[in-house]
């Protein structure tokens, strides 16, 4: 599971690098999305315990000994919440991009310098 952790951190770094280095607004949003996915993978891999199954208590799990047979449910809960919020935030960011494009007919972040100091 250490590989999943490394993969998550790699995606996080790639996403942040994309957000910092790209000039195109839509590419910045894509960078945010990649970093988001990396964080989800990190959180899920933190909750992993060796030789255990998912926290669904069906016939694969002995109910009397369930505590010793399932992985941590809390990271899954956090990621479920984070995915939904990430979806909403990405949609909102893309609609901001659409509005900005309508205003100046440009997707380059260099054309929006009103708040730059």
């Amino acid at each position: 599971m250490i590989f999943a952790l490394i993969l998550g951190f790699a995606l996080l770094v790639i996403g942040i690098y994309g957000m910092l280095s790209q000039r195109n607004l839509i590419k910045i949003v894509i960078g945010f999305s990649i970093a988001d996915t990396g964080i989800h993978i990190i959180i899920v891999s933190i909750g992993y315990l060796r030789n255990r199954t998912a926290p669904i208590l069906n016939s694969a799990v002995n109910l009397k000994n369930a505590v010793n047979e399932v992985v941590d449910p809390i990271p899954s809960v956090l990621v479920l919440t984070a995915i939904v919020i990430g979806l909403a935030v990405t949609a909102l960011m893309l609609s901001f991009v659409v509005e900005l494009y309508k205003k100046k007919q440009s997707l380059s972040i260099d054309d929006y310098q009103e708040l730059k100091w």
């Binding site: 599971m1 250490i2 952790l5 490394i6 951190f9 996080l12 770094v13 942040i16 690098y17 910092l20 280095s21 992993y48 315990l49 060796r50 998912a54 926290p55 669904i56 208590l57 069906n58 109910l63 369930a66 505590v67 010793n68 399932v70 941590d72 449910p73 809390i74 899954s76 809960v77 479920l80 919440t81 995915i83 939904v84 919020i85 979806l87 909403a88 935030v89 949609a91 909102l92 893309l94 609609s95 901001f96 659409v98 509005e99």
Partner: protein, 223 residues
């Protein structure tokens, strides 16, 4: 040039910070007390098969209410920003038109299955809602000029949201806690009708998320 150097410096700092996290990471061998409590509580206290669902809907139900509110705010923001506008009409291929009219009902059925079995199998209200919204996306792709009835969409969304809060308040009136699933009999472990109010709450969340996302897709296709 200076910008690039700053970016590279930031990335080096970030990688150094994160690499120490990865290298010194130790996997645990046992569940911590809180997780163990959630697992045993899900079996004995709530009779819900899916531990993740019982945490989301009951133990941390207030947070899920907040999450649904965030989703609603994002939808409202997108509707406010993008408004209504007529898009260009493009005719879809016959393959897409025929297969979408066949698939839409099945996809909606799959969504309903996912959110009504949220306490038994992997899945739940959010996932089921997204699947339902995908069915409407397929409808839009196959016929760009299709119009959805916004009154019904808004009615479904606001009624499911209101009933979600009402189910929570019933728990307060019965003095067992806000959004507690034990307001109705728990039933038998592992059956469809079990785990008290969890299937009801998750179905309401599924309907709300489905109609909200359909609204987002419908607003965005005008652009």
């Amino acid at each position: 040039m200076i910008k690039k150097i700053f970016v590279i410096l930031t990335m080096i700092g970030l990688i150094m910070m994160l690499s120490s996290l990865v290298l010194n990471f130790e996997f645990v061998e046992q569940l911590n007390d809180l997780s163990a409590d959630y697992v045993t509580g899900s079996i004995e206290d709530l009779k819900s098969q899916n531990v993740v669902t019982s945490v989301i809907v009951t133990y941390r139900g207030l947070d899920t209410l907040g999450e649904v509110t965030v989703l609603f705010l994002a939808t409202a923001g997108i509707g406010f920003l993008l408004g209504k506008r007529k898009g260009k009409k493009r005719v879809a291929s016959e393959l897409l038109q025929t297969s979408s009219s066949f698939l839409v009902a099945l996809i909606i059925l799959l969504g309903v299955y996912i959110f009504s079995h949220g306490h038994l199998t992997p899945g739940g209200g959010f996932q089921g809602g997204v699947v339902i919204a995908n069915a409407f996306l397929l409808l839009i792709l196959s016929d760009a000029s299709i119009k959805f009835n916004h009154t019904i969409l808004q009615l479904v969304e606001s009624l499911s949201g209101a009933f979600y809060v009402i189910v929570g308040i019933i728990g307060l009136v019965l003095t067992i806690g806000f959004l507690n699933a034990k307001i109705i009999p728990l039933g038998e472990f592992g059956r469809l009708i079990s785990a008290g109010a969890i299937p009801i709450i998750y179905s309401l969340i599924g309907l709300k998320v489905g109609s909200e996302l359909t609204n987002i897709i419908d607003t965005m296709r005008g652009e």
